[in-house]
């Protein structure tokens, strides 16, 4: 008589049990009055004392083991078929929080640029005239400055240059970053910016910009085009037609604007860009003979408006949950 064989057979069978009927016949087959285990135990009497000593404990152990299995399986089987549990009841509702669409798009932007080895940097929203204008080669008392309608901070009269303002673009971070970092590097700077202008469906007085800056020994216009095109294609997840055309920004030379063709066939201006102006390098205490690089700046709301089809820029700062909750992904 082989207890091990019996054990193996029983365990294998136990594993296949799926319902109460199977469990019942299993129990009768092995543990029942006329079951296989009792057969074995009955046989014990016919054996010698030595054999009994060897086989007896093994059989008892198996009995205990099988009883445990039956108890366990009983629970399992009853859970599955228990009539009190209505498994069709709705699940406990999990309140879902949504992130703001500008957060979502910024996260996506960060991921795309991080994958291209750009670091993500933050900067102050209250700036000085020096960083916002002077150091960026935007001359005082010149109409060029009118392109950036400015909110000024009320303060005791201060030296020209140290006057405080709400940054009108994220470009001041070009200077701040270059002052403290030795090239080569590549960064993006997302952040809130401010313009003094009438609010309407496409203008906000506080909005968000994305600045890009890459500086090295051989960074070129061709590289600028590659980075911008790659970014746009990844963000909008489609092929895009671009138009790079000349434009004037005092802090880049050559300067350009980048238009993209929307799905409705219309061209839309997306950003200003260009090669960092030598005077900007000088302002940041870098020698323009040693370095060259590109910079670009674009509105994040505009990207989001295109990507998600948002028709009115004012929705972003409305604090309206009905708006935010639409952006589930």
């Amino acid at each position: 008589m082989n207890v091990s064989n019996l054990r193996e057979e029983a365990l294998k069978e136990a594993e296949a049990i799926e319902n109460a009927d199977q469990l019942k016949s299993f129990e009768i087959k092995y543990l029942g009055r006329k079951g296989k285990l009792n057969d074995v135990l009955g046989l014990l009497k016919t054996l010698s004392i030595e054999e009994r000593r060897e086989l007896g404990p093994k059989a008892q152990k198996l009995k205990k083991e099988l009883e445990e299995i039956v108890a366990f399986k009983t629970k399992e089987v009853s859970l599955e078929s228990s009539p009190q549990i209505d498994i069709t009841r709705p699940g406990k509702k999990q309140e879902l929080g949504q992130l703001h669409p500008l957060t979502k798009i910024q996260n996506e932007i960060h991921d795309i640029f991080m994958a291209m080895n750009f670091s993500v940097v933050d900067g102050p929203e209250v700036e000085t005239e020096h960083y916002n204008f002077d150091a960026l080669n935007i001359p005082p008392d010149h109409p060029a400055r009118d392109a950036w309608d400015t909110f000024w901070i009320k303060e005791e009269v201060k030296k020209i240059g140290s006057r405080k303002l709400l940054r009108t673009h994220t470009s001041p971070m070009q200077i701040r970053y270059m002052e403290t970092h030795e090239p080569p590097f590549q960064i993006i700077v997302p952040g809130r910016t401010f313009r003094y202008e009438a609010i309407d469906s496409s203008h906000e007085i506080n909005f968000h910009q994305l600045e890009g800056l890459m500086v090295g020994k051989n960074v070129s216009v061709a590289n600028l085009k590659y980075v911008i095109e790659t970014f746009m294609k990844k963000l909008f997840k489609r092929k895009i037609e671009f138009l790079f055309r000349p434009a004037y920004f005092p802090f880049v030379e050559p300067g350009m604007e980048v238009d993209i063709k929307l799905e409705n066939g219309k061209w839309l201006e997306m950003m200003g860009a260009g090669m960092v102006h030598p005077r900007v390098f000088e302002e940041a205490h870098l020698n323009p003979k040693d370095y060259q690089g590109f910079a670009f700046g674009m509105g994040i709301e505009r990207l989001a408006m295109i990507k998600y089809g948002v028709p009115d820029i004012r929705l972003f700062n409305s604090g309206d949950l009905r708006f935010v909750k639409q952006f589930k992904k």
């Binding site: 999990q94 309140e95 879902l96 929080g97 992130l99 703001h100 957060t103 996260n107 960060h110 080895n117 993500v120 933050d122 929203e125 209250v126 005082p140 008392d141 010149h142 109409p143 060029a144 909110f151 000024w152 901070i153 009320k154 709400l166 080569p184 590549q186 401010f194 003094y196 007085i205 506080n206 890459m214 090295g216 051989n218 960074v219 070129s220 216009v221 061709a222 590289n223 085009k225 590659y226 790659t230 138009l243 790079f244 055309r245 000349p246 004037y248 005092p250 030379e253 050559p254 300067g255 604007e257 090669m275 060259q292 700062n317 604090g319 309206d320 949950l321 009905r322 935010v324 909750k325």
Partner: protein, 640 residues
């Protein structure tokens, strides 16, 4: 700036069609769009008013783009009579850089010819009479603003009239040609005779010297003024004219010559005007700019592989002179035309070439650079983490305005607010978040929201997190539900961020959140079943820089005991919890509130664990007794 297609087509006959012109200028020069009729609009770059804010300038661009000839006659130099005793010019301020005056006798002032009227109209200007129209037309054509005075209306000694360019007296009053009255200050440049101001220089002429039908003799002015001065005056007086816009950008002193010669020509043709005297006062004219063109550097900067002859040919099309005498043989020198005062450094020349080549045609190429780890700045990283935690916990994110209507002595105040309710920068996030609770409560039963953003206190900016919650319904303890929820979420957030010693100190109407003895924010009961919290994320970031560290997993089982107490009404759960922790009972691993039945009945769960052995019931009972005894020494209660 508006332009006439007819005039451009005359200057550059190679232009095929208006739409082709618009397309070409847009792609190769500056933003340009098509308008109705004969008009198109170009955004003239701020640094190109000397050479592009004119039909000559735009025609020059097109001739370069199309690589064709420009149909502009060389100005046959006009022999202007001088010192005929009719006019003199005295410049009394350095803010006038050049002043050219010419005196004309005019038999009769009629209307200007129809073709000229049409071009003026297409460019948005009204036709007045032949003299004024020629002034405006020349401005459109060459870019130099001109002004004509009625000679007889000027004060003079005998026949001679002297024009003074001077600063206005403080409070000097002036009436413009369109009868608007201004009080001037001593920073304003005026054109004047012996007695009175005749014009606000570079901006607008005066009623007192207006050219009329009956005028027989005129003085035509072509001048250059300090750009910043005109810009500031125009802003101060809120008076913007075609002339002021041009002068504000800075105009080359060479333009006065070109302008007044063209005006002399046209006045002769159209009004049979005869030039009888002239005066030209100027300092040194701008010198020629010679720039070395570094061919290698061009390739590296543009990523475009053009040969020296190709580069030369692009620059020649734009009228740059080429001198093949650079120190390095592969380079060359570029002679910049005087009117191209926007071109002062090598990079400016790079721009000229790449735009004429076509920026859009430059092939994109991936940058080649050493790989260094890209990094997220701490403040950006913490935003990521907090946002994803809160969204998972059922809180939605909103963005609010940085502006608020009220401030205090520590607030940043806006010097030029756009409206009364946006006079200050926000000093916290809760102000707008509370408003958002109100606005959204119409649409949602329960509200859970947060915002992350900069706030401004004590003239500094901080990165804050604000959380609010509001509940509706009939549940018990709804009033406190917000506080309890936010407290739980904040605790979870801080623990997930890696903070271990989180302490919430009760203060009036809320809790202060402390960790490592640093106050990082607060939770506040906001009334009407709402609560809010505000946390300084930069302080939080500073606290979480430590690494996780492995601690041995406990070897011996924990034993838990529940302690249900019936206390006096309004005993604080926080203080009872602390008392239990302070009771000196051994093996206490954790104390937590299990059930809050009402204001006086709570159940605590206390977990006991020993590091070196399995605790027995007897041991735990002994410690429980200690806890109850210690509590008895502080509170009156019954164990339920």
């Amino acid at each position: 700036m508006k332009f006439s297609y007819t005039l451009i087509k005359k200057l550059v006959p190679a232009v095929k069609s208006k739409s082709d012109l618009v397309d070409k200028l847009h792609k190769y020069s500056f933003e340009t769009d098509n308008l109705e009729g004969d008009t198109f609009n170009s955004e003239i770059p701020h640094n190109r008013y000397s050479n592009a804010a004119s039909h000559y300038g735009v025609a020059g661009e097109l001739a370069a783009i199309l690589n064709s000839k420009l149909n502009i006659k060389e100005n046959k130099s006009i022999n202007a009579p001088e010192k005929k005793g009719l006019v003199d010019v005295k410049i009394e301020t350095s803010l006038c850089e050049r002043y050219t005056a010419r005196v004309f006798d005019i038999p009769k002032i009629d209307k200007s010819p129809v073709w000229m009227q049409k071009i003026l109209k297409d460019c948005g200007l009204k036709s007045i009479n032949a003299v004024v129209d020629v002034m405006n037309y020349v401005m459109l054509e060459v870019g130099q603003p001109l002004h004509a005075f009625d000679y007889e209306k000027l004060e003079g000694v005998g026949k001679k009239k002297t024009i003074y360019v001077r600063l206005a007296r403080n409070g000097e009053s002036f009436e413009t040609i369109d009868k608007n009255k201004f009080k001037l200050d001593s920073k304003t440049i005026v054109i004047s005779d012996k007695k009175k101001a005749l014009a606000i220089a570079g901006i607008k002429g005066g009623k007192n010297s207006e050219v009329e039908k009956s005028t027989k003799r005129i003085i035509v002015e072509a001048a250059t003024f300090n750009a910043a001065s005109i810009y500031k005056t125009s802003k101060t007086l809120k008076l913007v004219t075609d002339a002021s816009v041009r002068f504000s950008h800075g105009l080359s002193r060479l333009l006065t010559e070109i302008g007044i010669n063209r005006a002399t020509e046209l006045l002769g043709e159209i009004a049979k005007a005869k030039l009888v005297d002239s005066k030209d006062v100027y300092g040194k004219l701008p010198g020629k700019e010679i720039i070395e063109f570094n061919v290698e550097k061009f390739k590296s900067l543009s990523g475009l592989d053009l040969t020296k002859p190709e580069l030369v040919s692009y620059l020649k099309r734009l009228n740059f002179g080429i001198i093949d005498k650079a120190k390095k043989k592969e380079n060359f020198l570029v002679d910049v035309p005087i009117l191209r005062d926007d071109v002062t450094i090598f990079e400016d020349l790079v721009e000229e070439v790449v735009r004429l080549y076509g920026l859009y045609r430059i092939p994109a190429a991936p940058p080649i650079s050493a790989i260094m780890p890209a990094e997220l700045e701490d403040s950006i990283n913490v935003k990521y983490k907090v946002r994803s935690f809160l969204a998972s916990a059922g809180f939605s994110e909103i963005y609010n305005s940085s502006f608020v209507s009220i401030g205090n002595s520590n607030s940043y105040e806006i010097a030029n607010p756009i409206s009364e309710d946006k006079k200050f920068l926000r000093t916290d996030l809760l102000l707008h978040l509370r408003e958002s609770l109100g606005k959204n409560s119409k649409f949602f039963e329960n509200l859970r929201m947060f915002e992350i953003g900069k706030i401004f206190v004590n003239k500094k900016e901080e990165l804050h997190l604000g959380i609010v919650a509001r509940y509706k319904g009939n549940e018990p303890f709804l009033e406190i539900k917000g506080v309890v929820e936010i407290k739980g979420v904040v605790d979870g957030l801080l623990r997930q961020s890696g903070l271990t010693d989180i302490f919430m100190k009760p203060v009036s109407n809320g809790l202060e959140i402390e960790s490592s003895n640093l106050n990082i924010g607060f939770i506040k009961h906001l009334g009407s079943n709402s609560a809010g919290c505000e946390i300084d994320l930069v302080k939080l970031t500073k606290l979480i820089e430590e690494e996780d560290e492995y601690k041995p997993i406990p070897k011996y089982p924990a034993i838990q005991r529940d302690l249900s107490l019936s206390m006096e009404r309004n005993t604080s759960v926080g203080s009872v919890t602390e008392t239990i922790q302070d009771s000196k009972a051994k093996y206490v691993y954790n104390v937590d509130l299990m059930d809050y039945y009402d204001e006086k009945r709570f159940t605590f769960r206390i977990i006991f664990q020993a590091e070196d052995h399995t605790l027995t019931d007897k041991e735990v009972n002994r410690e429980m007794d200690k806890i109850v005894a210690f509590l008895k020494s502080k509170y009156r209660f019954e164990v339920r």
